[in-house]
Structures are given as structure tokens and as C-alpha cells.
Subunit: 440 residues, 2 copies
């Protein structure tokens, strides 16, 4: 890891360095399961019960003892066990009417689906041969899915909808999670004013604060707004002190430089350290990492597109690790370039992009009243023996990649990546990260 400011630092080196610096938060709290979406488990979660807790029927039908079926005669229906009810022990040579989820009565070992039975008054009979019946069929065994004491979720797991359902199915209504990171966000630049007021000559709206607020909320962390810091040493020091008292980490936008109008570097160095990097990333490049009074500082560039990209690529993994997550998996998709990029760059490019399957028709499913949804599956069954690249999604770029505006990021579904020193020709495979994968 070099901090030679005359050289461009590769993105992966910077990320690796950052991830080695992270101190995972130790603060935990119990939250109700209904408030736990997006939170990170602070201990491994084990089950206190067997799932299913008792053998039960997987179907609506008739519970029998398999051996009683051999006679192939009609069995009297001796009891009725709806879901939620508890039957009595099964009288030999009888059947119990049973419903999906109901506990198997003692003595019964097999369930015949109602569709395979004929009912005559109070008796039930197999409508076909016993050869089609297996002992134990349509019965879910006790503990078949999870046994008491088994770990179901690891420490560091982030809770999605399915984890909430999984924990609820174990009877849990609260969980121990890490406290949400508090992230102080400050913007530097005398030219900035907040949206909602009229801008005078020389003033521009502070958009980075809103972009960062959205990014932080998407990660289920707490946004602590510190507003716009004037370009003065006293103001900068006061803001950083407030931030380090109120927050677990500080994120600034507006760039940190050695320029005469920039006090961030000097103030941080007075009470910690700061490394200024020139990253091999586009958009982006100026990026600083440091510590002020023991609180980590990530200083992003000021350009709105660069804020978005450097947050997603560098700050997000840092924050998620700090929040206690045990892993991050963002696997890019491979798509086929529908664009040219003849000139290689000495920085890795992250480009606003959309992907679409070539098979998509002009009238995708559900095009009604100006609404379109492209969930219909492209047909990739004919891929065998043909060129696979004809069947991968095509990737298109927003025309004005160089703009600092977020129009391109808004147009895009995600970002395409072009590696340092590489050019792109049409038809070439290119990696694509969906924003949905990175914004949460």
C-alpha cells in the first residue's frame, strides 16, 4: 500500500487497506423482530425448538397406519383433526380425517391425499392401488427442518425479509443486533447552500448531503447531518469535534486537498492522521482516509457522481464491516458491450449503464397505461451449441459519462466497470453491478 501522492492508488489496494483498518462496532441492543429489517445480528442465532415441533400432515387427507391399508378395505373415519387441533391416538384399522399442518395422531404413520381417496358415508377407501402409496408419505417429521440447539443464522448476518420469517418460525420475537452506526456527514465549500432557498451568484446547492443521506439510510444506518462547513480553520475544527463526539464515523464530501482554501487536512492532522490518495478511479480520484480524535474519517470527493461511486465502492464495504457484517457478496453480472470505448484510461472506470436482454420485445409483459415491467424471462434454452454471448444481456452507457450531475446515475440501473488500461469494443463482455445490489 503506497501513499505516494504522485502515483494513482489501485481501487482494490485502497479497499483492502480500508477494510484492514475497520474496528467493528461493539455496541449492541435488543430489538423487536418487527423493527429488525436490515439490522445485523450480534450473536449466532440458534433454535430453541425443533421444526416441525411434532410430526404433522403435509396434505389435506386421511392419516392411517400404513399396515392397515394392506386389506384394501374401507376404513371407518374415527376422528377429525383440523390444523390447530390435537387428535387422540388412532384407533387401529381406522383413518383420521386430517388437514395440512395438523399433528399426526399417535399410531398413524402415513397420510393419503384426499384426491386419492373415495369417501362413502363414514368410511374412506383408497381410490387406486396400494402400490402408489409409500409408508410415511405426506408426513413431515419432527425436527426434519431444524433441530433444537442448531445454529440457524451466523453472527454478522444482515436480516432480510426471509431472515425475519425464519426467526419468527422459531418463535423468536426479538433479536440482539448491533446498534446502528451513527454517521456524521459534513460538506465543505463556501459556495454551498441548502436546497429550499434561492441561490445567489456563486452559490450551488448542497446535493451531496441528500445523496449521502439516501445511501446511509439504504444501509440502515443513522445519518447525522452536520451541514455545510465554511472554509475556515476554526469552523472546520468545531465541526469535526462535534462530529467525533456524536458519531461513530465521519464522512465528508467536498474533497480534501493541499489547496490554500482547504483546512480539513490540517485540522485532522492536528488531532490524528490523514492519508490523501489519488485513486485510480473515475469518477473519483481525490479520496482521503484518516482519524480525528479517534473517530475514523472518510473524505470523499466533491463531484456528485464521484461521491456516489466512491461511497458505493469504498465507503459501503467499510461501513458494512464496521456495522458488524461478516461478509459482503456483490457478484457482478457479465453483459455484452453495446458501446465502444477505444481509449484506455489509467483509472478504473465506473460507468452509468443499463442492461437489457436482446430477446426483449418492444411490448414487454404488462405494458398497460404507460407501465412496463420486464420480468418476463428471456429464452436462453436455445443457447446450446450457439454463441453464448448472443444470449447475454446487452449493456448500454449513458452518453454523458463525464458530467458531474447525477442525471446519468438516475438514468442507470447500475454501473459497468472498465479496468485500468483496457479499451472496449462492441460485443465484448463487461462487468455490471446493479445499483439494487449496492444501494442496500
Amino acid at each position: 500500500m503506497t501513499f505516494d501522492s504522485s502515483q494513482l492508488t489501485p481501487v482494490d489496494d485502497a479497499l483492502e487497506y480500508l477494510l484492514r483498518q475497520v474496528s467493528q462496532t461493539q455496541k449492541t441492543e435488543h430489538v423487536m423482530l418487527s423493527n429488525a429489517l436490515g439490522r445485523v445480528l450480534a450473536k449466532p442465532q440458534t433454535s430453541q425448538i425443533d421444526v416441525p415441533p411434532w410430526a404433522n400432515s403435509a396434505m389435506d387427507g386421511y392419516a392411517v397406519r400404513y399396515s392397515d391399508l394392506a386389506a384394501q378395505t374401507a376404513l371407518p373415519v374415527s376422528q377429525r383433526i383440523p390444523a390447530g387441533a390435537v387428535g387422540s391416538a388412532l384407533t387401529p384399522n381406522t383413518a383420521a380425517r386430517i388437514f395440512t399442518g395438523a399433528p399426526m395422531p399417535t399410531g398413524a404413520d402415513t397420510v393419503i391425499m384426499q384426491e386419492q381417496c373415495s369417501v362413502d358415508g363414514s368410511h374412506v377407501q383408497l381410490s387406486s392401488s396400494i402400490d402408489g402409496v409409500e409408508k410415511g408419505q405426506n408426513v413431515r417429521a419432527m425436527g426434519e427442518d431444524i433441530r433444537t440447539g442448531q445454529q440457524v443464522l451466523a453472527k454478522g448476518q444482515r436480516l432480510r425479509a426471509q431472515e425475519l420469517g425464519l426467526l419468527a418460525s422459531l418463535g423468536l420475537d426479538s433479536v440482539l443486533v448491533y446498534r446502528k452506526l451513527k454517521i456524521a456527514v459534513l460538506s465543505t465549500g463556501d459556495e454551498l447552500i441548502e436546497p429550499g432557498s434561492a441561490a445567489g451568484l456563486g452559490q450551488i446547492y448542497n446535493s451531496n448531503r441528500y445523496t449521502l443521506a439516501g445511501l446511509i439510510a439504504g444501509l440502515e444506518m443513522d445519518f447525522v447531518p452536520l451541514g455545510i462547513i465554511a472554509d475556515s480553520r476554526v469552523e472546520t475544527e468545531r465541526a469535526l469535534q462535534k462530529a467525533s463526539q456524536q458519531a461513530d464515523i465521519i464522512i465528508s464530501s467536498g474533497g480534501v486537498s493541499v489547496g490554500e482554501e482547504d483546512h480539513v487536512k490540517a485540522v485532522i492532522e492536528g488531532q490524528g492522521f490523514i492519508h490523501l490518495w489519488k485513486l485510480a478511479i473515475k469518477p473519483g480520484k481525490p479520496f482521503a482516509y484518516g482519524e480525528f480524535d479517534g473517530t475514523p474519517v472518510l473524505a470523499l470527493p466533491g463531484n456528485p457522481s464521484a461521491v456516489l461511486v466512491t461511497f458505493l465502492i469504498l465507503a459501503r464495504p467499510y461501513l458494512l464491516k464496521m456495522q458488524g457484517m461478516n461478509s459482503i457478496r456483490n457478484t457482478p453480472a457479465v453483459a455484452i458491450a453495446d458501446f465502444e470505448m477505444p481509449k484506455p484510461s489509467n483509472r478504473r472506470r465506473y460507468l452509468h449503464a443499463r442492461v437489457q436482454f436482446p430477446q426483449s420485445t418492444d411490448a414487454p409483459i404488462g405494458t398497460t397505461e404507460g407501465f412496463s415491467a420486464n420480468q418476463e424471462l428471456p429464452n436462453i434454452s436455445q443457447v446450446y451449441g450457439r454463441s453464448l454471448s448472443d444470449h447475454l444481456p446487452k449493456i448500454q452507457l449513458y452518453p454523458q459519462q463525464s458530467s458531474g450531475m447525477l442525471s446519468g446515475a438516475s438514468w442507470a440501473q447500475g454501473i459497468a466497470v472498465v479496468e485500468v488500461g483496457q479499451s472496449v469494443t462492441k460485443g465484448q463482455p463487461v462487468l455490471f453491478y446493479s445499483f439494487a445490489d449496492l444501494l442496500n
Copy 2:
């Protein structure tokens, strides 16, 4: 579209039918931009300003009149314009010290980066030939990115972090959005109890309520819990009436059938209509769509895995359209099967899956203290002239796909899709939807 209950209905037909039934919400509200993440714009958003609002410097450097450079002599520095300040008109044959983002002084048309200048006392001079300088360089023109009156976001756009930043950059601090849909969720089944209490024999925990709460929160909609409805006609009718008064749409789990223990169908038919489908989907199959007292009803199956899949594939597009979104783009990735599935099914299978690039090493970037992050890019530059499929991500399945438990969904990063009637051999391309793409 057939409602013949003896036939399996294809998923795409069901989805197309559902999307044609949707009435988009008409309820709108103004919200502050800081509360607008995930909300859907209720009108096209146009800009009230030019961006940039005035020509400004793209660099720290010196603003000059290009024609004054021809003499190649040192120019006196006549003023200093930091970001946020407003300069005076540029005196001919002088330069203005200028910083990134500061308005260009009247008369200046070009900015020389400070790195390309040499400064001697109060004078500045190009350090290299004028041939490297273009008239207008390093100047961002007024309105270059957005012009007053230009539409920047369409009605029906869902607001992500970048849209918040984009709107803020236009000076907007509030937006008109659709009111969040209120979604009443009810679970049917006498065997269900809520987590947090001890379950007796025959009782199981209501996990679907928590899964659905998480799914609904992920879409930024309001979850209206109606709890567990007893298997009685009176209770079912009371619950549906309450739901239709309190909510825009009703989602039930627990399956609707013609079974003797199920009153949902009869009650809904009494005050509306209901179509029971057998969908060609696995997990899933029983799925009902109807209307009770004018409120739409989506009745999902009871199996927890089936709830997750049918919600993501069928309910989610319906809800997002109802919420006012103008399009949904979920483009699956193509990955290479690292599994076999020899037996074709008459239902489309949605399988819990993980994807990973074959190039991933055992020690991905940032593996420290039990943490791993796989953001490092796989190298696909050597793909030319080789088999592309060697460079696509490999897809693995959770071993117990048939379980109703959500353990598989929790293990998974997303869902692989296997079409009706198809088998899968190792090495074959398979479509993969990331959960991140579907859970928001």
C-alpha cells in the same frame, strides 16, 4: 387467460393478467426530500434553474482571456475568487486566481490549471507552450447539464439516493409523491400463534407475517397487520371488512382452497369475486386474486418459501405498479449451472441459489477477522477467443429446495430460474435474480 382450475396457469400469464387489473393509486402528498427515499414521484419533475447556474471553473487555477495568452508573458493576478465568492469583471491582460466551482469573472473564457502555471510574486505565467491550451478549457458553461424547464425525472420514478441528490442539486427540498400503499396482511389458520409465546401441540408460529412485513417495508409501503384469522366464516368476514376499510390492498397467506376448513373463498365471493389459480410455479401453486368490497386481494400460499417466491414474482410487480411506478426493471444475470436437475417439471422452478466467479480465490479481498468481501473484480479481460462460459459466474443451489423452511432463502443470494419442461445439466446457462434486486 384461463381460470380453468384443472390446468396449471403459466406464471407470465398470471402476471400479465394481474398487471392489467391494477388501478394505480391516486393519493398524493408532499414530502420533504429528506424523507423521500424509496417514494414514487406523482408528477414529472422539471428544473426551475440552469445547472450550472452560471459559468464556473472546473479546476483550481487561473481564469484568463484566451487571447491574452498569445503574448506568452506573465500576467498580473488582478483578483482572487474562491468558491462561493463573486469576482468582478476581469481586467484585460490580467489573470484571476480562481478555485473549483467559483463563477467565471466576466471577460474570462479559459482556466489554466494551477499545475500548468508558474507563479512569480504577483504574476502568473504558463509553464509550458500555449499549444497545450484550448480556448474555453476547464470552464463549465451555464446550463451545460440541465436547462430551466427541462424534465429531469419522470412521473412514476422511484427515488433512490441518486435521485435525491439530483433533486437537491436543483434546489428542491420537497417533492410530490404518491402516498404509501397501505397493505393489510392477514394469516389464516387455527394452528398459528404469534412468536414470543410458547407453542402447544398442534400450534406453529406465524412466520409469514414477518416475512411479508419485511417485504412490504422493503418496497417502502405501509404494513397493516391484521393478525391471525381463525378458521370461521364470521371471523374471516370481520377481518376482511376491517382490512378493506383500513387498507388499499389485502394480502393473505395460508392459501385459499375449496376445502371445508377454508372460508376465505366464500366470504370474498359474497362481496366481490375471487379467481383460484393453480400456478405453474414451484414453490407455490395455489394462488388467488380477487376483490372484496372493492379492495383487491392477493391470496398467497401458506408455505413460507412459497410466500416469499409468489410475493417477489407476482405480488411485487402488482404492488409497485399500484404504487404508481412507471416501470420495473429486473434483469436477471446469466450464470453457469454448477448443479444437475435431470427431471423436468411442469412448473417453473425458482431455486435458492448463490453465484460466484470461478476466478475467486480462497482469500478474497479484505478477509480479516472473519470478514470477507468479494468486491474484487474477476478478470474477464482474457475472455477473447476462449469460451465465455468459463468466465461467467457459477451458480450453486441450496441442497434442500423442497423444504418449506426459509433456511434456503436465507442461505441464498438470489433465485435461479428453471423453465417449465426443462432439465439442467452442469455447465448450462441459467438465469439468476439477485434478492437485492427483488427485495426493494
